[in-house]
């Protein structure tokens, strides 16, 4: 295939990209994900086996050192763990720029890393098979307004969800549930679980960056397993955790949308990098962020994906 029809994406050090992908790491090794490349950026999406959780990562074209897409939109399937394992290999070997091309031979996704060692060049090359994948329609298509939301530090929500494990799960079972209760007056946000024991956690509404409750009370239950996947797999590095903000939105039917703004650190120096020298830098880190989305269905909502709603 001619190179002119290939999308070329150059990543400044793959560690940051890898950290973001780890945030949406699915539980199953065989999890397939849908990758969509447009002129605006790259979107990676997958859904839980129960189809009650959909996750997606959107990486704006600006976070890459180079982003050339000759077409409008192309979608292909990819084994998520194969993708992250490949990135791990490149991240561990060098901090040089990683070049991703699609489509490669046989519609494959190709990776190439060239580094200069003692006036000679070393090239590391990988190819991943792509899949023809049909995922369910996005849960966001069933979104119903009005919705309520709040903004909180990602680390705080992570701590709350991890504390709720004691009350939601007994032993190795993770079948418990977490209740999200929003109240307009007085404003309050409470996460609680009462399966194995009772624990309720109130968020400090007065210290939050944003809070809005469109109804007098919003009360929905979600599986603890899905809440943990949405809040607890985020980058645990101290700097990333402190700079990560999370917006939680609940629509009128109880569908929860969780959006994390994750900083992309760990880039290496590269000539022509429009973002400047290497190393984590607050101003540059702020501009280099990826957004991670989760859509969760409440326990009392069932969506039939054959085109009919049943809420």
């Amino acid at each position: 295939m001619e190179e002119a029809e290939q999308a070329l994406i150059r990543v400044i050090g793959s560690k940051g990209l890898l950290a973001v992908l780890q945030a949406v790491k699915p539980a199953s090794n065989k999890q397939a994900s849908m990758v969509t490349i447009t002129k605006d950026g790259m979107n990676i999406r997958w859904e839980d086996e129960s189809k009650s959780l959909q996750s997606s990562i959107f990486l704006n074209s600006e976070v890459f050192a180079e982003f050339q897409v000759p077409w409008v939109r192309k979608t292909f399937g990819l084994h998520f763990h194969t993708f992250t394992d490949t990135l791990t290999v490149f991240a561990s070997t060098s901090t040089s720029d990683l070049t991703i091309r699609y489509p490669g031979p046989n519609e494959e996704l190709t990776f190439e890393l060239v580094e200069a060692i003692s006036e000679q060049q070393l090239c590391t090359y990988a190819r991943i098979n792509t899949l023809d994948l049909d995922l369910s329609p996005e849960i966001s298509e069933y979104w119903q307004e009005p919705s309520s939301y709040f903004l909180a530090p990602g680390a705080m929500l992570r701590e709350a969800i991890e504390d709720l494990e004691w009350a939601a799960c007994s032993g190795a079972q993770t079948q418990g549930s977490v209740t999200v209760h929003l109240k307009r007056s007085p404003p309050s946000i409470t996460l609680s679980a009462s399966d194995a024991a009772e624990l309720s956690i109130k968020l400090p509404v007065g210290d939050l960056a944003g809070f809005m409750c469109t109804e007098a009370e919003v009360y929905h239950k979600y599986k603890y397993k899905l809440m943990r996947a949405a809040f607890s797999n985020l980058p645990s590095a101290k700097e990333a955790a402190t700079q990560m903000s999370t917006k939680v939105t609940v629509d009128s039917s109880g569908i929860m949308k969780v959006m994390h703004m994750v900083p992309l650190f760990g880039g290496g120096a590269s000539q022509g990098n429009p973002l400047g020298p290497s190393g984590p830098n607050l101003s540059q880190g702020f501009s280099r962020r990826g957004s991670v989305h989760f859509f969760l269905l409440p326990q009392d909502v069932v969506i039939e994906y054959d085109g009919e709603d049943d809420v």
Partner: protein, 543 residues
């Protein structure tokens, strides 16, 4: 009836340290007891061989209220109690216990602003207390917790028990170096790997290592106890910033460990905290001395346990942590615990009464009534303490019943092929087979089989005799085959060589010990047959 406790700031770390300490000793249950001026947490391990408690004076807390009652007792799961301190940065904690609600409400305020409310279900539990009066224990050791941890790091990490030996002070002076205390690793001789276990011994200069040492007893004293529980107290003392005090008397009596003097300080002020750890110790002394237990004390039966205070009842005249004495004991403290497993069965059969025995958590102690099976090896087998008291051991062995065992294993035979262990029913492996009903000529007299408790030296002597017999047997087989030779002599040179060969053979046979008489008989039979063949007319069938 209700209890309300409020605690703020850096004091919370002492509460957390106490919970961690209690969780290391007793992993299942945490008992709470609140009295007018004290709040006590207790735990006990599953085998009831270790008792841990931690007390807070009422004025330690920022608020302490006991309403409509003088005492409240309750139990919660240890896992639930530890969940309160899952997050690291806690600013405030409020405990609210209402008996009518049957739950303990705990409100935790974190540094990041999260307000967590836990509701822990209460459990029906018996509040156990250890009745130990350690004020009269002759041995008292005070040491820095980190120093003891450093010493214990010399021992194998997988070690379960250690022995502390304390010499009397007057004997100490004889050594001249004040090395009055030793710490030994204890390896259960009943374990299969005991022969290969790493053993470690430390001799400690009490003046250099300890902050205080006192042994008012006339004899050396040693105690063997569980190391893991002991380390739990050392960790607590390190967290509190205090030293460690050990008190013990004799093997079989409990070992008492506590933070020494002022348990903790905060902001230059002493805090009213106290901890206690009571460990059961091995009954037998590693020094070979008799257990110094007062006469008249009887072991408790399997169903007996330390007396329990029913939940809700106040122990009379007992301020907080001072317990009653368990039934059936008096005087200086008896850490009477419930036994489990085999020991219970044995004691249920009423085998004997005696001083309090080591609980079942430790490895099973060998019962002297059960004969110790002999072991092959280069060194004679020795029971615990045998080296120190050979005469006593011999007397015991003479009194023991003979123990019959099966034939030696292949491995044993390979290691020491000349040593055989046998009883009257075991045939000699290479002994000549006799016809049915006929005892081998070399069989032992029809007496009682060898005592199993013979020293290996006895077996060695027998083995040597057996080896000599084998050697003679080998020599016998090196001689020309009597049948072939006799045939050759008879068939070819009967006249010329037969007389000489027969004379030599006869001489050799005569020199052989009676053990070979059976073979002599076979030889005689063969010779007779050959002679008969010679007399037979060719072509005529013999006989």
């Amino acid at each position: 009836m209700s209890l309300k406790i409020h605690i703020v700031g850096s004091k919370l770390r002492f509460l957390k340290a106490a919970l961690v300490y209690l969780a290391k000793v007793g992993t299942d249950e945490l008992t709470l007891e609140a009295v007018v001026d004290k709040f006590i947490l207790r735990s006990i391990n599953s085998s009831k061989s270790a008792y841990a408690s931690f007390s807070f004076e009422g004025n330690f807390f920022d608020a302490y209220q006991l309403l409509d009652t003088n005492v409240i007792q309750a139990g919660v799961t240890m896992k639930h109690a530890l969940a309160l301190f899952r997050s690291h940065r806690i600013n405030k904690m409020t405990l609210d216990l209402k008996r009518e609600d049957d739950q303990l409400s705990v409100t935790v305020l974190s540094e990041n602003g999260l307000q967590k409310q836990y509701k822990l279900p209460l459990m029906r539990t018996d509040v156990l207390q250890a009745a130990v009066d350690d004020s009269s224990f002759p041995v008292c050791v005070v040491a820095a917790a980190n120093e003891l941890n450093r010493l214990l790091s010399s021992f194998q990490t997988s070690l379960d028990e250690i022995t502390i030996i304390a010499m009397p002070e007057r004997e100490d002076m004889q050594y001249g170096t004040n090395k009055a205390v030793q710490i030994h690793s204890y390896v259960d001789p009943g374990k299969e790997t005991s022969a290969k276990a790493l053993r470690t011994q430390l001799e400690l200069d009490t003046q250099k290592v300890f902050l205080g040492y006192n042994n008012q007893g006339a004899d050396p004293a040693d105690v063997t106890f569980n190391l893991k529980d002991f380390k739990a107290m050392l960790s607590l003392c390190e967290a509190l910033g205090s030293n460690v005090e050990l008190r013990f008397e004799a093997p079989g009596n409990p070992l008492v460990v506590r933070p020494h003097a002022n348990a903790a300080r905060l902001g230059g002020q002493d805090l009213d905290l106290s901890g206690l750890l009571v460990l059961a110790t091995l009954r037998s002394s590693q020094l070979g001395l008799p257990s110094a237990l007062p006469n008249g004390r009887h072991a408790r039966g399997p169903g007996q346990q330390a007396q329990r205070t029913p939940a809700g009842e106040r122990t009379p005249n007992v301020p907080g942590d001072t317990p009653w004495l368990a039934a059936g004991t008096s005087g200086r403290g008896a850490f009477n615990v419930a036994r489990s497993g085999q020991q219970q069965q044995q004691q249920g059969q009423g085998q004997r009464d005696g001083p309090a025995q080591r609980p079942s958590r430790f490895a099973q102690e060998r019962d002297d009534a059960v004969p110790i099976p002999p072991q092959f090896g280069d060194t004679p087998m020795r029971a615990v303490g045998q080296d120190q008291q050979p005469q006593q051991q011999q007397q015991q062995q003479q009194q023991q019943q003979p123990h019959q065992t099966g034939p030696p294993s292949a491995a044993t035979a390979a290691r020491r092929p000349s040593a055989r262990f046998f009883d009257s029913e075991t045939e000699f492996a290479d002994a000549p087979r006799t016809s049915a009903g006929e005892a081998p000529a070399d069989a032992l007299p029809d007496e009682a089989p060898l005592q199993h408790d013979h020293h290996i030296s006895e077996l060695d002597r027998h083995a040597e005799g057996q080896a000599a017999e084998e050697q003679q047997e080998q020599q016998w087989w090196e001689l020309p085959q009597p049948s072939a030779q006799a045939h050759a002599h008879a068939g070819h040179d009967a006249d010329a060589a037969g007389d000489d060969g027969d004379e030599d053979l006869a001489a050799r046979l005569a020199e052989m010990p009676p053990l070979r008489s059976r073979y002599r008989a076979m030889l005689d039979d063969q010779e007779e047959e050959e002679e008969d063949d010679e007399e037979a007319v060719p072509g005529t069938p013999p006989g």
